[in-house]
């Protein structure tokens, strides 16, 4: 069972109190974008074995969206952080680097 701490209400919420909301830090492309940009935004997703960044929502709790960094192989959670950001905080990146020195995910490393 996955347990994440909601950064907004502080609750250590187990999975059933949360809703998975897909990949983190997507850049949205709207009606004026090119077909390729829109296709990439709409369909192309990371599928990593290891370090991954996701969006979650504390749906059965305070209702807020937040981000989580975790490993898809070990289920280790590196941390959760605010939804109002374009990239993971340095502190969480450092934590991942300590365990996986050569990790990278999209443009982050």
């Amino acid at each position: 069972m996955l347990t994440l701490q909601c950064p907004y209400c502080g609750v250590w919420a187990e999975e059933t109190e949360l809703h998975a909301e897909g990949e983190a830090h997507l850049k949205r492309f709207g009606p004026d974008s090119s077909d390729e940009e829109f296709e990439t935004y709409m369909f192309m997703r990371e599928n990593p074995k290891g370090v991954h960044f996701e969006r979650w929502r504390h749906s059965n709790g305070c209702g807020k969206f937040f981000h989580a960094a975790r490993s898809t192989t070990t289920l280790e959670v590196f941390g959760t952080y605010s939804a109002q950001t374009y990239e993971p905080p340095q502190e969480i990146k450092d934590k991942i680097s300590a365990k996986y020195p050569n990790w990278s995910w999209r443009d982050f490393s």
């Binding site: 209400c9 502080g10 059933t16 109190e17 305070c62 209702g63």
Partner: protein
């Protein structure tokens, strides 16, 4: 004007814990900047209660104030007062980015009392209900079996639980099953 009734008309069940619907309660969702002095003063005027800290509920002469999220409070007042309280909040918060809505008729409230009350909740909600982890004045929004709910602990170790009116019967049924005699856990 039609006569207001609560979702289950005050239904109750006596298991190893007593579960009862509390009847009509005035409830107001207030969203805004919880750090605002103006908002704190308006909340104090409406309920007599101080601003609650994260995941807490505070009590005043006229009502309760529950911390629901970083920008949301739930005010619990007398049912008949809810309309006036909303009007007073609107007036006090004009010019602030805030919203007050009377949700009294969109909610149902249950009271749970008796030894074993913590076990009844722990069987249905993924929450640590040990006494040292959840005490009087603590509030938690969570999942009650298959529906969202919020509950808090009172000084006498009774609990009050709020859910959407549309799922009141479901919530009552779940709590009844959890409180059935011979279902005691005697753990918490």
């Amino acid at each position: 004007m039609s006569k207001a009734v609560s979702a289950l008309n005050g239904a109750s069940y006596d298991g190893f814990v007593r579960v009862s619907e509390t009847g009509l309660r005035g409830m107001i969702t207030l969203r805004g900047d919880l750090g605002s002095k103006k908002l704190a003063a308006a909340v104090k005027a409406a309920t007599g209660a101080a601003m609650p800290k994260q995941r807490k509920i505070t009590k005043g002469a006229k009502g309760l104030v529950a911390w629901m999220s970083p920008d949301e409070l739930l005010l619990v007042v007398a049912y008949a007062d809810a309309g006036e309280v909303v009007a007073a909040l609107d007036a006090a918060l004009s010019g602030e980015h805030a919203l007050a809505v009377n949700v009294s008729d969109a909610r149902a409230v249950f009271r749970l009392e008796g030894a074993g009350v913590r076990d009844v909740l722990a069987k249905t909600c993924p929450v640590d209900l040990a006494k040292d982890a959840f005490g009087a004045g603590d509030l938690r929004r969570t999942r009650l079996a298959q529906v969202p709910a919020a509950f808090w602990a009172n000084e006498d170790d009774s609990f009050e639980l709020v859910c959407f009116r549309s799922v009141a019967q479901y919530a009552f049924d779940v709590l009844k099953v959890s409180a059935q005699p011979s279902g005691e856990v005697n753990f918490l």
